[in-house]
Symmetry: C2
């Protein structure tokens, strides 16, 4: 109707950014709020954690991405709540009124009720998480080199990844390559090739969202990189000394968490119904039941497919949901008929294990080995946002591919 229709999007991840993009020509005023100043390309965050990429290679300022959208402003602020009655988003310092609200705040780590494991098993969601993990990984080798008794050295050179989904598989493969290739010749008192990388998965197989055959291939690929994969091995406890899993203690100074996530606290802000993982249950049009002006998308939403299964927490789902909500709100602002029901078009499923090793599943096409890896690499360059990220990541990868090196082996912070 008029350009006074105010849309607030909370979260500058894939869901929020795609919604903002698709509202370009709509007669609306858009405000994107994020507590970070940057959009993070999370699919490659594990490469920052394993010293292959720099944060700036995969993180771009949200306001620079959306610079040309004249109907849009970006606010860096932490949302603290939503006043549904007043239709206002609250941050620490301001209140931002909306006619429609899009929540796309993603997930955080979840430790299955064992929050006491958190300090000993960091997860991977933010740039800070990745730099913290990078520091832990590289320091373990430095401390082992500096000298200690054999037991401590073994624990320092044992790396445990908990969770056999895509993130766990990618992390374990990348750590194995880091230890066995990039660091191989740099030490005098230890042999990084002796490092143990252990991947623990509670279920009977890796990559639950992939077909059996591809999961089995990923297992073989990981083992060929020297990763010990333990299936059907639930973690019982995590502490400073390592992990107890499958009834046995594994001494390790570095334990990484890739096992579980929970939705951000958006359900609490909205007083909305959520599932055990905190995901908000939404209508077929992604609106919150009883609040047709509030939408939840991406990892924060529980959206069921035609078979009644929840859609996975992956980028293509969030992007398509963001675009759908933008189309819906664009129609609403114009007074046109709104689309009634979001339907996910499966964009395929990719996971990489390491150099020349990946699995790709498009239903009609399944690729493994070098072909899968090449597709994975090209797809990720393509999906990166902006020419600069593509240029920098492609340059880093080319260098790493030729030299087997890792370009960002810095121990900082701490």
């Amino acid at each position: 109707m008029s350009s006074e229709f105010r849309i607030v999007i909370v979260g500058g991840g894939f869901g929020g950014l795609w919604a903002a993009h698709a509202l370009h020509h709509a007669p609306v005023q858009v405000t994107v709020i994020d507590r970070r100043n940057h959009h993070l390309f999370q699919p490659l965050l594990y490469q920052v954690a394993t010293a292959g990429l720099s944060p700036a290679d995969i993180a771009v300022p949200i306001r620079s991405i959306l610079r040309r959208r004249k109907n849009l402003s970006v606010l860096m602020a932490e949302v603290t709540g939503v006043d549904r009655a007043a239709r206002v988003v609250e941050t620490g310092s301001t209140r931002i009124p909306y006619d429609a609200l899009v929540i796309a705040t993603g997930t955080t780590h979840a430790y299955f009720g064992h929050d006491e494991w958190r300090p000993f098993a960091p997860g991977l969601k933010s740039v800070e998480d990745a730099l913290f993990i990078r520091r832990r990984l590289l320091l373990a080798f430095e401390e082992a080199e500096a000298g200690s008794d054999a037991a401590r050295r073994t624990a320092l050179l044992t790396f445990i990844v908990i969770g056999g989904g895509p993130t766990g598989v990618e992390l374990a493969g990348a750590i194995a390559e880091l230890a066995h290739k990039a660091l191989a010749r740099d030490f005098r008192h230890i042999d990084p090739q002796q490092a143990r990388i252990v991947l623990l998965e509670a279920g009977p197989r890796l990559l639950a969202s992939f077909p059996d055959r591809l999961a089995a291939r990923a297992l073989r690929d990981l083992e060929s990189l020297g990763v010990e994969v333990r299936l059907n091995t639930a973690v019982e406890s995590v502490d400073e000394e390592g992990v107890v899993a499958g009834g046995a203690r594994l001494a390790a100074r570095t334990v990484l968490w890739a096992a579980g996530v929970a939705a951000s606290p958006a359900a609490g802000w909205l007083g909305a119904d959520s599932d055990r993982a905190g995901r908000v249950k939404v209508e077929p049009n992604l609106a919150v039941p009883g609040a047709p002006e509030i939408f939840v998308i991406g990892d924060t939403a529980l959206v069921l497919d035609a078979a009644g299964n929840p859609l996975p927490g992956v980028a293509p789902v969030a992007k398509q949901e963001g675009t759908f909500v933008a189309r819906l709100l664009s129609a609403r602002a114009r007074g046109a008929p709104e689309p009634m029901r979001f339907a996910y078009r499966n964009a395929g499923n990719l996971a990489t294990i390491g150099r020349n090793r990946a699995v790709a599943d498009f239903g009609w096409l399944r690729l493994t080995g070098f072909a899968g890896w090449l597709l994975w690499a090209v797809a990720h360059i393509f999906f990166l946002i902006g020419f600069r990220s593509r240029l920098m990541v492609a340059t880093e990868w080319l260098w790493s591919y030729i030299t087997f090196g890792r370009g960002a082996r810095l121990i900082t912070g701490g």
Copy 2:
């Protein structure tokens, strides 16, 4: 004599690294100790602070640089002292014996007895310093955009650099370009082009180590970038609200310190004589008086030129001193005659102000403007360590030169 001649080098900066390099073929065992795992190319650190480069572009693991030196090992540890009688370097956890010791531990910031200014005027020495300054710079614009009263907004958009040496000039120019070019179109409620950048210098001119004509040109170049340069303006106090200088208060939320350095505490470890800036007074062969087995080089040493003036704290001095000490110790290990006296060959002096603007002084050749800048850029690519850093910095610079953008505009940490 034998390969049992043990040399310990403390510090993996230019001095320590060049010494280690030049000991390659000597019959000695070398240990390089640094509290960081990386060598940092400090001449470009201001570009990390101003969001142009990533830390990993200019920082390389010391053990990876020295990987092929088979007579050498690298230890990441913090040196806590030197036991001169026992000829042992002490770290928190170990004691490392030496036959010859090379101290190359560089400098830290000095606030001329006003350590209370430190929290309000961070300096630039480490990767962490640079990321902290980057965060402060970028957050100032975000906070101004998020809205506040006019006085606070003015203070947020005022950036003061204290000190008109090369680092201060480079920082001020880079902040001006960041505000006036890279950020120019990204905000809705503020105009980054209105940002004030003020460079304060207590002395009568900029770049004291350059000829008058080049310093005057640097001043004009800075002013053409929109930097307000105030000469003969000593800082009287620094606090959360800004600076008092030349009798007047300047309100600014971001104040950066580029005015003074002091040597690392090496003089204290050695019980050696030092000047006011903490630099150890050394013999003509760079040995500590009364301790012919201990050498101090780089910014930590006070070395006089033929005219009796101290050599400046720049990379070429440290590199040449490192190479000199390596030649001396190589001769000593072989029982050959040692060189008696270090002499500095002036390698020229470069400082950049911004895009297409730099000053270069080689005595016989002086360049300014585009020619100076091109020389500056080529020289810095050349001097970077390793093919990867050259590739990444050249790629970043090419992208920035074409787009006027800054590739690492991330607010992290904090």
